[in-house]
Symmetry: D2
Subunit: 131 residues, 4 copies
Amino acid sequence: MNALEQAPFAKFLGIKLISVTPDRIEAELSVREEFKNRGGMMHGGAVMAYADSLGGTAAHANLRPGQRTATIESKTNFFASIPIGDVARAECVPLHRGRSTIVVQTRITRNDGKLAAIVTQTQIVMEPAGA
Amino acid sequence: MNALEQAPFAKFLGIKLISVTPDRIEAELSVREEFKNRGGMMHGGAVMAYADSLGGTAAHANLRPGQRTATIESKTNFFASIPIGDVARAECVPLHRGRSTIVVQTRITRNDGKLAAIVTQTQIVMEPAGA
Amino acid sequence: MNALEQAPFAKFLGIKLISVTPDRIEAELSVREEFKNRGGMMHGGAVMAYADSLGGTAAHANLRPGQRTATIESKTNFFASIPIGDVARAECVPLHRGRSTIVVQTRITRNDGKLAAIVTQTQIVMEPAGA
Amino acid sequence: MNALEQAPFAKFLGIKLISVTPDRIEAELSVREEFKNRGGMMHGGAVMAYADSLGGTAAHANLRPGQRTATIESKTNFFASIPIGDVARAECVPLHRGRSTIVVQTRITRNDGKLAAIVTQTQIVMEPAGA
């Protein structure tokens, strides 16, 4: 599966990849009724799921052939709520590309440009068996 | 909306609340095909969405009338992958119940009992207008 | 105590503030023998202590008269070790300045310019009694 | 350097190890004047430095010969302030001991038993060269 090919969960959420390079991923997500939290806004869990999907894509875009990656930890700060019906834009960049870990950061903004959340994640890089 | 009433996003994921008290929330989630990541296991984003939903429920169960709550930050450590078809069990307990914040921790385990993830979140408590 | 006045712990570490504005704090720290970890490099605990001190200063620089602040959570990602004898440079900027929380991010770099750590913290803002 | 041998930074802080086993580290720290923050309590940076020192010790106690470890990320939640003159007690346990990472959690309590902070950290395990 290459970086552009999306996992079933990314399709379930409805993430649209706008551009994918090793240095930067951009995406859009239409904030549907199903994403509603108790307060009537986009659920924080949906925000994290969106970011995690892009973080995996970004890590994937930085792997060498045969390597695999898994998220080992993820930290989110929430700044503003995203209304239902909005388009949540995301940009994900690597902060660090090491031999054994890749650290990526995703900024999610509302359609009005306001920063909604920042998600920072560590992905561990696993070598192919026998490497 | 009371603590037992689930948000649309919790229904979208299919979370089943088993028990809800201010001291402890228990839930189950059937890990469906839609939750699949690139590696064929439950997506980390789905794991975090599941935990965040319970964290919100736990915070809600500790509010006084009129108060509202919002997640301001969330930290996840991932330990083991959850296979598709599994039942992911979750238990969420408050670590701290302060005047202005509630900190909750959710442990997610696979059906075989192996710890899959721990999610720790800070919820801010907002007083009713005019309080 | 104003933002420029340093706490005893900041003096204990030997932090030198280079510039303090509400939008940006800059500082330097000489990495002394006492900061050594088991591997002979600057201890991660010293890196976090350094960043936390600046985070508090940055939050303080954004308070209104009478308000106080406390760190409620802090997340660090470590990227590179800092050698003893080095000068660790730090830059701290607010990511979010809300009514009830301030979120700050500190980047710590080695003298050779390599990024050593990023520390993101949430500070809660407490109003003066009777406000 | 074995697990019981403390790094210079741990001595600088004055950490007293009470017991060290692979399953649990216990320690005490006298909260000195030098640890004071702007509010006159123990600085959050000192709390994190204390915990990080124990986290490293705990990881170390779980290594096989020749392996080394480094903290790659650390997350702290603060719940209560620790007064100067207090004895801060810490207990550190591994949450996960994997092939490539060890995740440890440290609880810091005041002398009156109140929980002051929880610190969760990921340590990466590095094999000896040529392994």
